[in-house]
């Protein structure tokens, strides 16, 4: 494909102050009682339980898979997570541990988290992860190419990875903490949407800031407008830095009031998190029993 010029990825501007004001304003919604319980349960069903560490082992991944399937073993009404997210070499372990469950296996790929490797290696990594049974691929965009204005390269790479994914869903990680400006993030969203992303994902979790409410609001506006423009739905995954049930509910409010009912499902909105699940379980038990339980009552996996 011929190189595309920046004009082909032009987007309208974002006003940072007003965007942040709107996100903060929606953050003041008061979510109580039945809506809190329903929201927390939905958050679990939307969760990609994640471990992406150098010290990951087969044992660690198996523990995580068990927790993803039964977050609160004593409570049948607490649903399973959406997926478990691991590095490509651990995909077979997760596939094996999650067999027979509804929990999907997601794998990061394309030289995660920095993406600083050649195209062929990136694509090979995707192929291996898919061959091993991953049904969702979380790729990183080439931020170097993006920040030097080579938008066409970013676009081409997303297209190539999408092709390599086959039937697997492609989540495109923008690493918004490295793109810095909302205008950049908006343009990266546009490139990913044109490139065939099934999901827009904020962050690797390795860069601060990771997911923030204004960034996710911006991404939700992009997928909403894309849907109204093309009729095609694309999901959003907020990843990194979301640690509490309260935070998760704030993101759900953003979804509910920006994109509405269609996106309030694990098919179209995800949380990428490692520590969030325990707090959500704790909040659910608090709502059920009226008091906070000991931390030791919840699995530490």
């Amino acid at each position: 494909m011929a190189a595309l010029s920046p004009t082909e990825f032009r987007v309208s501007p974002v006003d940072a102050v007003a965007l942040e004001t709107r996100a903060a304003d929606l953050g003041t919604r008061s979510i109580k009682k039945a809506s809190k319980v329903a929201g927390l349960q939905l958050a679990i069903r939307m969760m990609d339980l994640t471990t992406l560490e150098g010290m990951d082992t087969a044992g660690k991944v198996r523990q995580l898979c068990q927790k993803a399937m039964r977050p609160l073993p004593s409570r049948a009404d607490v649903p399973s997570c959406a997926a478990v997210c691991v590095y490509p070499d651990l995909v077979p372990i997760a596939v094996d541990a999650l067999r027979g469950s509804t929990v999907q296996v997601a794998s990061v790929a394309t030289g995660f988290p920095a993406g600083r490797t050649d195209r062929a290696t990136k694509l090979r990594e995707v192929e291996l992860a898919v061959a091993a049974g991953a049904t969702e691929i979380d790729m990183v965009i080439d931020r170097g190419a993006f920040l030097s204005g080579r938008y066409g390269e970013v676009f081409d790479e997303i297209g190539a990875v999408k092709a390599a994914c086959g039937a697997a869903h492609l989540k495109v990680i923008l690493e918004t903490g490295e793109l810095k400006t909302y205008d950049n993030i908006r343009r990266a969203c546009r490139i990913a949407l044109l490139g065939g992303a099934d999901f827009l994902k904020t962050s690797t979790g390795k860069v601060t800031p990771a997911s923030t409410p204004p960034v996710v609001l911006l991404m939700l506006e992009m997928v909403r407008d894309w849907f109204l423009e093309t009729g095609h739905m694309v999901g959003v995954k907020a990843a990194g830095g979301i640690r509490t049930g309260k935070d998760a509910l704030k993101y759900l409010v953003l979804v509910a009031e920006t994109c509405g009912d269609r996106w309030l499902s694990p098919q179209w909105f995800r949380f990428g998190a490692s520590a969030l699940l325990t707090d959500v379980c704790m909040q659910l038990e608090k709502e059920r029993t009226g008091r906070y339980q000991r931390a030791t009552d919840f699995s530490a996996d």
Binding site: S12, T21, R29, S35, E221, F227, L228, G260, D261, R262
Partner: protein, 502 residues
């Protein structure tokens, strides 16, 4: 309601739906932490006194029409007593050092913040505006005005160097019902900072928070008579502005009443500031951050049910993005949560009074009858109380009444323009000149436009933002004089020397 459009144009397959999957449970703010007295008296000379008229009138909760309290109706004799109390207090108050006056103002601000929740609830009950706004805007801003002006009390010489600023005397202040406590703070704080004493007359339909503010004055140990609050109707206000003991009248309210007041003070040695109506324009250019502009326009017209003198009631959109922008607005309006003002998730509360509701209906009816297209999102309005759905008219021209007259309700009129020159011409084509909003990403255009807007406040890529340090006031029939900032202080002092223009 013949020509009402309830659905957006995009077909159902490609449309968004809201509220079908996950709903917010009711989250009402508690009201058992304070009580409203069955009867409220006048606050004169630091004491609660019964009105010499012996009459009382009811104040109701606009959301339910329930009577909240009976409030004293002040007559001529009560007005006279209040002005005399203020005159008596002026002797001592003006002699106090600025530092000492500042101490009182700081104390008032602190107590107000300590009692913030109670004031927010009371304001919402008496006014009908959502608790979210009283909690996050009205009460904190009211406190900020006391804090800010406390800072000037001992620095008057720095404000007006070489001009020996002196207080004016007794100030008669008449305030409206749309921001009852905030307007009281806007008026009282600078007056006291400069060494004046005050007789304040709150609006007939929303007197409760101004009366409760008197409790704060008592708690702060403010000397008796420095602030007097008399409640009543239009006649009470008229008696106040006609009283010969006043050195200044400050009024916020309708242009109609403003003109009457101007006539009443004509030929007297009385200073006057008027903050009156508005018909502000929002200019949205095609290069603007449209999603954020939508938020700004919504905030501009639906904040406080549109009961805002600087509300952005005329939307001027560049023709090239008109359809897109109106579609975005429709979808956004469908998500405005209208209902119980005490619920923390309510975005828009009740219309303040039956009279105001009738006025809104009359003008909206006129808009429909003259061929403009009305859009109102589906929303279930409560049976009791005064309610009106968020509304938007398209196909409006400068010749329509809804583009010229102040509706003072949640009704937006959408017009279009082709060039910046046309935008300026249309924006300024009004009897008013209080505020304007500019939405564009181009810095040079912002400056070019701001220079040409005949409006006291020009907001750029935001709207309805207020700060005690920022002067507020109008051009033309929106009145004269400024409130807030250094310019606001000028309205409460008499200058000698005149080394600098006043």
């Amino acid at each position: 309601m013949a020509k009402t459009k309830n659905e957006t144009k995009v077909d159902g397959e490609r449309e968004l739906t809201f509220g079908g999957v996950w709903n917010y449970a009711p989250s009402p703010e508690g009201i058992d932490h304070f009580t409203i007295p069955k009867r409220c008296e006048l606050f004169v000379g630091g004491e609660w006194i019964k009105p010499k008229t012996g009459e009382y009138f009811a104040t109701v909760d606009p959301a339910t029409e329930a009577v909240l309290s009976e409030v004293a109706l002040a007559g001529d004799k009560d007005v006279d007593a209040a002005v005399k109390a203020a005159q008596k207090a002026f002797v001592g108050w003006r002699k106090l050092s600025g530092e000492d006056r500042a101490r009182y103002l700081f104390r008032i601000a602190r107590i107000l913040l300590e009692r913030q929740r109670e004031f927010a609830c009371l304001e919402t009950l008496d006014n009908g505006k959502p608790i979210k706004e009283t909690r996050d805007v009205d009460i904190p801003l009211a406190a900020q005005h006391f804090f800010y002006h406390a800072g000037w009390a001992d620095k008057l010489e720095l404000l007006f160097p070489g001009q020996s600023p002196e207080p004016l005397g007794v100030v008669g202040q008449v305030i409206p019902w749309n921001f009852p406590l905030l307007m009281a703070a806007w008026k009282i704080a600078p007056a006291l900072a400069a060494g004046n004493t005050v007789v304040l007359k709150p609006a007939e339909t929303s007197p409760l928070t101004a009366l409760r503010l008197c409790e704060v004055f008592q708690q702060a140990g403010l000397p008796p008579g420095v602030v007097n609050v008399i409640t009543g109707d239009g006649k009470t206000g008229a008696a106040l502005v006609r009283h010969p003991g006043l050195a200044k009248v400050a009024f916020t309210g309708s242009t109609e009443v403003g003109k009457e007041i101007q006539r009443a003070v004509a030929g007297r040695s009385v200073e006057l500031t008027l903050e009156l109506g508005g018909k502000a324009a929002h200019l949205v250019f095609e290069d603007a951050a449209l999603d954020q502009a939508v938020e700004g326009v919504v905030r501009g017209i639906f904040f406080n049910q549109g009961h805002v003198c600087c509300a952005g009631s005329r939307l001027l959109v560049q023709e090239s993005v008109h359809e897109l922008f109106v579609d975005k607005l429709r979808r956004r309006m469908a998500r405005i949560r209208v209902g119980n003002p005490m619920d923390k998730n309510t975005d828009m509360g009740a219309i303040h009074s039956a009279a105001q509701l009738a006025r809104i209906r009359e003008l909206v009816g006129d808009g429909q009858a003259s061929g403009c297209e009305l859009y109102q999102p589906k929303c279930e309005l409560p049976k009791k109380g005064y309610w009106f759905a968020p509304s938007m008219f398209t196909g409006v021209t400068m010749s329509h009444r809804i583009a010229r007259e102040e509706i003072f309700g949640p009704v937006l009129s959408v017009l279009t323009f082709r060039t910046p020159e046309e935008a300026v011409e249309k924006a300024n084509n009004t009897a008013y000149g209080l505020s304007a909003g500019i939405w564009t990403d181009k810095g040079a255009r912002i400056l070019w436009l701001a220079e040409r807007m005949k409006a006291g406040v020009v907001w750029n890529n935001t709207f309805n933002r207020f700060d005690a340090a920022s002067p507020f006031g109008g051009f033309k029939e929106s009145g004269f004089g400024r409130e807030g900032g250094r310019q606001g202080m000028r309205g409460y002092v008499r200058l000698q020397g005149g080394l600098l223009p006043g």
